[in-house]
């Protein structure tokens, strides 16, 4: 039972904690920025754009959450999450500035 | 009334799905099903469930599909409970279900 032995090491516990943090907080911010961008991109009325993007948000959150637990390397999770959040944020700023 | 018919159809469909499984068929009828029988049960299950879906949707698309989800849940529950505790009843259901459906259709035509 290598699984049970693993469970006791501090390292393992920390990696679990980090994964949950990535999934919850990283997932949250990723979703928040991506729906903000989505609402800007949708070519509908303002109310409708908000409603559509809000309805899609939970779907995005779930996909990110599952993906975080599906990917093996911790480094890749954090780096891709942070860079994509930054990218989304910059893109949103750019479009808003452009308008 | 029409939703009752849809419910019966749904129950019938899941009955057929259950009987298409060798273990369940054996616990009800005592013999192993032939491959032909399994195939037939499966096919009829799909046809009947499609019918049930259509009957539900014919009433109202949104409300009907909600009903359909609920009916599926109830059907699976009833069939599972029946298979576990009263497998004998399943055999009578084989004749009872079509009979009930016919009665329902006829009575809805009469009244």
């Amino acid at each position: 039972m290598s699984h049970a032995d693993n469970a006791l090491t501090l390292r393992y516990r920390l990696s679990v904690l980090s994964r949950f943090c990535a999934a919850i907080f990283g997932g949250y911010f990723f979703t928040a920025y991506s729906v903000a961008l989505l609402s800007l991109l949708l070519p509908t009325a303002k109310v409708d754009a908000v409603l559509y993007s809000v309805c899609a948000s939970i779907l995005i959150f779930c996909c990110v959450f599952i993906a975080v637990f599906g990917v093996r390397s911790q480094k890749r999770i954090w780096s891709s999450l942070i860079s994509s959040i930054l990218g989304l944020h910059l893109l949103t700023q750019y479009i808003q500035g452009g308008i | 009334m029409i939703y009752g018919l849809a419910m019966l159809l749904c129950l019938g469909a899941f009955y057929a799905f259950a009987m298409a499984k060798t273990a369940h068929y054996k616990s009800v009828f005592g013999t192993r099903p032939s491959q032909e029988q399994t195939k037939r049960f499966n096919l009829s299950g799909w046809i009947i469930i499609l019918l049930s879906f259509i009957v539900n949707l014919s009433q109202a698309i949104g409300y009907g599909s909600l009903m359909f989800c609920g009916q599926m849940a109830l059907s699976v529950l009833l069939i599972a409970v029946c298979l576990t505790y009263k497998p004998n009843w399943m055999r009578s259901l084989f004749y009872l279900l079509p009979l009930l459906a016919v009665i329902m259709v006829v009575s809805s035509q009469v009244f």
Binding site: A36, T44, V47, L51, C55, S57, I58 | V76, A80
Partner: protein, 529 residues
């Protein structure tokens, strides 16, 4: 890679499911009961039981509601008329009064018999089904905002657990009907699979749409990016009917009700009305707001007409022709709350909700059993295991018991008690706390069995208690065709029966278990060796 993904999903399913399982059980349980929110409010209010079904025209009802309010509260800043439905037989007339600067306006609620149009006598102070409705997302004794975040968090975990559960349960349709009650932990696994698969569309739908109901708290970002003043601006755009109307100083003797309603009935003769609100009925700022009934349409917000009370002309309408986005969003919320459901669908909702409770409960129980199995015979139970077992039994057995306590309190507390509604809620929590204290001391199979018997007895006596305190019982309900009340009694008896069967089964197991458990430990020991 595929194998490791599968393993990580199993792991995710266990942890995400279990971290908040008791909170989830509470949410599911309260939500399931809230499908009968108005019915419970009716049951809790015996004075309303004897009211006959409304036979009046809606026009007459509205007119008499307005006349009643005009004589009872001409100075109110808002009148509110709720028309009777099949779930709420009474005509609700409420008026709201300003309490001066900085204070919240105060509501006075009254109810009229729709047939005699007289106020109903002998109402008691009770929260009714609204208690469970609020408990479902506001919890209780807790800051509202924090509670809602917690509930959202739990729901998100639920959704993740569902998705990962589908991934790991490969043979999802293969052993769909399988339930083997004789096989120990295997039986719990079967119960878990069966209850989750049979209502899988419901579970996914209810969790997703549940998150959507609180979505603007979770993700205000789209509204904040598109609107200058954020959510406020979005709300003003999306809910034109919520725009505040300021009072004016000029008095008005008689608002133009007749002109407004004549216009409405002429142009929308088929429209059923859900409620009528009149803002500032005594001055020239008067506005008449009419909310249409959606019936069984999958929509959440009601179609809306606003008339000027001085001239009787139509000022604005909303949602007469909703856009696709509104249909999507409103549809999700409508499907979640199930307000549209007729009794048939409502019971199906209820059954699916119970399946959800069973799913969560069996998951919790399996977890405790697995930890226990892993213990070596010489080891004593750790604090964690004790905690898990205590919480399991306290939530799974304690919540139904507390609910019964709430119903008893409604019937047995004196009607003229001060703050009676809060006392009912207090009884709910006291019973729950007592169960928790009991289970922190005893949490073996005996405790389960004892609490199951306790539940069975209490639920069985509930119809008796109700019959003794209200002058009517199951038979008279059936005779008078009061199906809602009759089904309450039948549901109580069924609940009692289910708990009795469970208790009996536990008793059988407790005697059979000794020999089996000996055998099992020997077998596992051999396997390990």
């Amino acid at each position: 890679m595929k194998e490791s993904f599968f393993r990580s999903m199993t792991w995710l399913h266990t942890w995400v499911g279990l971290l908040l399982c008791w909170l989830l059980f509470l949410i599911f349980f309260a939500g399931t009961i809230s499908f009968f929110r108005h019915e419970i409010s009716l049951w809790n209010q015996p004075a309303v039981h004897n009211i006959d079904h409304n036979k009046q025209q809606q026009q007459t009802l509205i007119e008499s509601g307005l006349a009643y309010l005009n004589s009872a509260a001409p100075e109110a800043n808002r009148w509110w008329i709720g028309l009777p439905s099949s779930r709420q037989p009474e005509l609700q007339v409420s008026h709201r009064h300003s309490q001066g600067e900085g204070k919240r306006d105060k509501w006075h609620d009254e109810r009229l018999d729709p047939n005699t149009l007289l106020p109903i006598e002998g109402l008691v102070d009770t929260k009714g089904g609204n208690f469970f409705y609020r408990l479902h997302f506001d919890l209780h004794y807790m800051d509202r905002k924090l509670a809602r975040w917690l509930v959202c968090f739990a729901s998100l975990f639920m959704l993740i657990a569902l998705i990962s559960g589908i991934v790991i349960h490969k043979r999802i349709f293969k052993d769909l009907f399988q339930f083997r009650p004789q096989k120990g932990v295997r039986a719990w696994l079967d119960a878990h699979n069966l209850s989750s698969v049979l209502a899988l569309p419901f579970h996914l739908m209810i969790t997703y749409t549940g998150l959507i109901t609180l979505i603007f708290m979770l993700f205000p970002n789209p509204a904040e990016t598109l609107y200058e003043d954020g959510l406020k601006g979005f709300r003003a755009d999306f809910y034109p009917e919520r725009q505040r109307i300021e009072a004016s100083n000029k008095k008005l003797d008689e608002p133009a009700f007749e002109a407004a309603f004549t216009h409405f009935y002429q142009n929308w003769p088929e429209q059923k009305i859900k409620r009528v609100i009149v803002d500032h009925p005594s001055n020239t700022a008067v506005n008449i707001k009419i909310y249409g009934d959606n019936g069984t349409l999958i929509r959440d917000e009601y179609p809306y007409w606003q008339y000027s009370g001085t001239t009787g002309e139509l000022l604005k309408t909303a949602r007469l022709d909703p856009s696709n986005a509104e249909m999507l969003y409103g549809g999700m919320i409508a499907v979640h709350s199930g307000r549209l459901a007729h009794p048939g669908l409502r019971w199906l909702y209820f059954i699916c909700g119970i399946a959800g409770c069973v799913m969560i409960a069996s998951g919790c129980i399996m977890w405790a059993k697995r930890i226990k199995e892993r213990l070596k015979p010489t080891q004593t139970a750790s604090f964690g295991l004790k905690l898990v077992e205590t919480l399991n039994i306290a939530t799974i057995m304690g919540l139904p018991l507390a609910t019964a306590g709430f119903f008893y309190a409604n019937r047995l507390l004196p009607p003229d008690m001060v703050a009676r509604a809060d006392k009912e809620v207090l009884v709910f929590f006291v019973v729950w706390l007592a169960t928790t204290l009991f289970t922190s001391l005893f949490r073996d199979k005996r405790a389960w069995q004892w609490l199951a018997y306790c539940n069975a007895a209490i639920w069985l006596l509930l119809p008796v208690c109700s019959a003794l305190t209200t002058h009517s019982n199951l038979l008279t309900y059936i005779q008078d065709g009061k199906w809602i009340l009759a089904s309450f009694d039948l549901a109580f008896i069924t609940t009692a029966l289910v708990f009795y069967l469970q208790a009996k089964k536990l008793a059988n197991k407790a005697t059979a278990n000794k020999s089996v458990s000996n055998k099992r430990t020997r077998v596992t020991a051999e396997q390990r060796a």
